[in-house]
Symmetry: C2
Subunit: 352 residues, 2 copies
DNA sequence: GACCGATATGCTCAGGCTGAGCATTACGAA
DNA sequence: TTCGTAATGCTCAGCCTGAGCATATCGGTC
């Protein structure tokens, strides 16, 4: 098998903004790799087009003192954005995460970052653009109740469970499905985005699983042994939900969503996405956009005001269609006072 | 300045076990690097000895399908341990994190992992041994009330605040100290281990800050400009608390402690450190050892039993010195039932 | 054989927070 | 003036948490 043995380090950025009710992520078009058969039969990109990719930049050890500074540098050049809040997510280094490895390309280890910005016009050299992150992970949006795609997924997962011959494997699969796609909607855990995506990948239900499987068999021949994480044969009638992304970028996006949803609860990161002054409704909308569940309005207000997370400015916004809403701003002092300030400290639950 | 421009990837492991009341981490002796002046005037290692280091292994892309499998492989060879729970922590890539870079050595980017094991005799090729993690971060152990070293640290931090000439900088420093080393003990946030360590490093209060500063000036000459994160001049009478570690390994340990303390609350990882059957007191002791705070006994029991995290086995342990304690075991089914099972879901607070 | 020290285990109660709904206020438009 | 639409205010039951008091059951001692 061709394998050069070399390794290179790169950086991927999940840059998040919220526009209106839509959480957006910055993507670039990536020329489809020869082996990466464009399998996205789903909604967003027409068949044959290149899938969206997260911005990627190489890490230049001679130029950058830290990984994060390296990231800020090339993101700035690509998009003109000056990143505010930046946090390292995870380092992705699985073999064949870039299919060019199959042809002897180097192992690409990529350090993923999440960055939060207030949406601004893009300049810079790249052809980056914003896209709703639920285009890629539609089953994560429960703001208007249970998303219909969930039923499809549960069907696919049920098939995956039944495909296992061994009863123990079947039980293990059943448990995993129950844990991540809990049967009763009330216990939907908004933070398990990554676990759900990994389960769908292993079950062969997302387009990338098909793509990687084809790339693998094309390279090793159909007689070759598939790695265990690609064992599941695909039902040919299956239409993979959600927009596919290049390489393992949908997994990186899922990691970012998990992390951000978790962080919301105990750190005031949400204000990185808002202008200095905002109404409480706007704050709630952004919290809902990110967490993907509707929140109880009065309780949400009570939460953020009683936690003294925000303070009134005395100014008002009259463009509401009803009674004017007071404008609030983030109270920085809260950082000194409370150990873990965040929105939805408990409220990130479905409203019934 | 010598700088080769090359980069290599390695793996660091923070392997944690709990023995009696002591949370332990696996370390190896590392030959002190020429530039890394042995500055540990603190308690544990005699001056001149090499500091402890976390186990480190190179990543071999040709051999290992994933980073984690690579880690399991060399840890197994080094220690004979078969790692159970393993989780990626963070990727460390700051310039000069390995002082050999100052002499033209390569940039070493290290992916840190935390692993939980039940303590077992060490075999394998290495001279690894267990050490109490509070030897390295003594200010994190509040199980017997406020640790005395806290007063020393607050003194040092006060000096650091006052050393700033600019009033804004002074206020920023004051805020940061208040946030991490909260003045009232009641609001001590056990999860901010990393933030506290980074603050102490920047304030020049831990031995590694001295060491790195000396290495830097030795290389660039005393006239050279120090990087901003090393600006603070050191008070010569200062005795840095806690045992120093090689390179940035104390920072990696702090990252692991932060992550583990946070995770305890919402994932049942604690059972990775316990035998299959245990008393509730033992469970509490391990939770206290990791979180570094005493817990209210009756409430702790109520928490874990009412959350149905454990189930009684009907067997008893009579070695308690008092009434025999019933043995319990982890209830795996809880994973399916509750979205975020963990011990101390709310109880990780000081008992008054 | 009763007593004591030590620990496990059981129970209660006040206070705070959460989920949920009802009520009132204040704008623009008809 | 009325109506539609939001913003904002208020209440209340239920649950969870912090804290303490009470009881059970061992080994060892007198």
């Amino acid at each position: 098998m061709p394998e050069s043995g070399s390794t290179i380090i790169g950086l991927n950025a999940v840059i998040v903004a919220v526009r209106d009710l839509s959480p957006r992520v910055l993507v670039v078009r990536r020329a489809s790799h020869a082996l990466a058969t464009p399998a996205q039969r789903g909604e967003p990109a027409a068949a044959g087009e290149s899938p969206d990719a997260l911005p990627f930049g190489p890490f230049g050890p001679e130029r950058h003192r830290t990984l994060e500074l390296g990231l800020r540098d090339w993101v700035g050049r690509l998009t003109g954005l000056n990143l505010g809040y930046v946090e390292q997510l995870y380092t992705f280094g699985d073999r064949f995460r870039d299919p060019r490895e199959l042809e002897g390309g180097p192992r690409v280890v990529s350090v993923g970052y999440i960055a939060l910005v207030r949406e601004a016009p893009l300049s810079g050299s790249g052809e980056a653009y914003w896209r709703d992150w639920y285009d890629f992970l539609p089953w994560e949006d429960w703001r208007n109740g249970r998303p219909p795609v969930i039923d499809t997924l549960r069907d696919g997962l049920q098939q995956w469970i039944e495909r296992a011959n061994d009863p123990d494997t079947r039980q293990a699969r059943r448990d995993r499905v129950a844990m991540t796609f809990s049967q009763e909607d009330a216990t939907w855990d908004v933070e398990r985005v990554l676990e759900r995506h990994e389960l769908l990948y292993e079950a062969g239900l997302v387009a990338e699983a098909q793509r990687d499987r084809r790339a693998w068999t094309a390279q090793t021949g159909s007689g070759g042994v598939l790695p265990p994480w690609m064992e599941a044969p695909l039902d040919e009638s299956w239409r993979p939900p959600g927009g596919a992304m290049a390489l393992d970028h949908r997994r990186i996006l899922a990691t970012a969503m998990s992390r951000l949803r978790g962080k919301l609860k105990y750190r005031p990161v949400i204000f990185e996405l808002l202008p200095r002054e905002f109404t409480l409704l706007r704050l709630q909308q952004v919290a809902e956009a990110l967490s993907g569940v509707p929140l109880h309005k009065q309780n949400f207000r009570r939460l953020v005001t009683q936690a003294r997370l925000v303070e009134p400015t005395g100014r008002f916004d009259s463009q509401t269609g009803g009674r004017p809403a007071e404008l609030f701003q983030f109270r920085r002092e809260v950082l000194r006072e409370r150990p873990a300030p965040g929105v939805g400290i408990p409220a990130l639950r479905l409203v019934h």
